[in-house]
Symmetry: C2
Subunit: 151 residues, 2 copies
DNA sequence: GCTATAAACTACTAATCCAGTAGGATATAT
DNA sequence: ATATATCCTACTGGATTAGTAGTTTATAGC
């Protein structure tokens, strides 16, 4: 349960990398090469290409082709939320479709959706997850003061 | 992300059903037929067979064959936690293996696991989910006073 | 002991998703 | 023109999901 795909993980790693290279006080950003990013984060290059392209189509990134080209964030790291990123690659963040707001779908086997015990719990899970992912930006994580992680 | 399989959902529905049929003050429980459960909860019968068997092997259920046979809970609904059930069917409840306690595995692409931003966030997600699933029993849900659900 | 009942078990399948890869097309700077 | 670097489409092998089919074993009642 609750598993993150490699694709989403790579996307987040790429965005964190680009966030670290973000220049706050300049309008124009220095592009980062796919090749550089792939090597630095140990992401298969061709796979990363596809991922960055999807992020661009989702308007989180901008790019330029040819010499001096590459990718950069289209907005500030504090304005990019993890929930948004994950939704791009994995669709709705809901353990079950009947608790999704925008992609709601009722279970075929459900008699009374308002009293379904499974739905009751999964709604709580969803809200707890969204409370993290939709409130945490790339910048929040980079500036976190409770690091290193201790399990 | 965070998606529940049909199998887990059916398992939970079956357990809630058996909880409703649990007789608190008696040592001996009245068996419930697979066929009855399948019809009442609209679960494919053969699939449910497999599911109940797995729950039995996980010691959450007991059963008897032949006439007068069926399935019943091997312990009280207040002693069966949702996290346990979900782990039986889906394995570890962790968005990524590097935040799992018992099934820990490091990412191959990770340079410094203690400062990994992805891991940092996914640990928070995991803790939030476990805080619900490992603290909520079947009985807790059946006795919930915040029903019906309002999205 | 025979018969009906009901769970137990093994093995298979079709469809979907995941984690990439291959190869060429297009845009840009010099 | 040429080198550089992104853009785009299509594909592949493996794993997982949601079941189904068919047979075997245990049990209760007569």
């Amino acid at each position: 349960m609750t598993s993150l795909t490699q694709k989403s993980k790579y996307a987040l790693k790429a965005l964190f990398y680009l966030s670290r290279h973000y220049q706050p006080d300049q309008g124009v950003q220095t592009p980062v090469l796919i090749a550089e990013l792939a090597e630095a984060e140990h992401i298969p290059r061709k796979f990363l290409e596809v991922i960055l392209l999807e992020l661009k189509h989702a308007t989180l990134l901008q790019s330029r082709k040819g010499k001096g080209g590459g990718y950069w964030l289209s907005k500030k790291p504090q304005d990019i939320y993890l929930g948004h990123v994950i939704r791009i690659f994995e669709g709705p963040i809901a353990p079950i479709a009947c608790v999704s707001k925008r992609h709601f779908e009722a279970c075929q086997d459900c008699d009374d959706i308002d009293y379904c015990q499974v739905r009751y719990v999964m709604l709580k899970v969803k809200l707890a997850v969204l409370d993290i992912l939709d409130k945490t930006s790339l910048a929040d994580v980079l500036n976190a003061d409770d690091l290193p992680i201790m399990l």
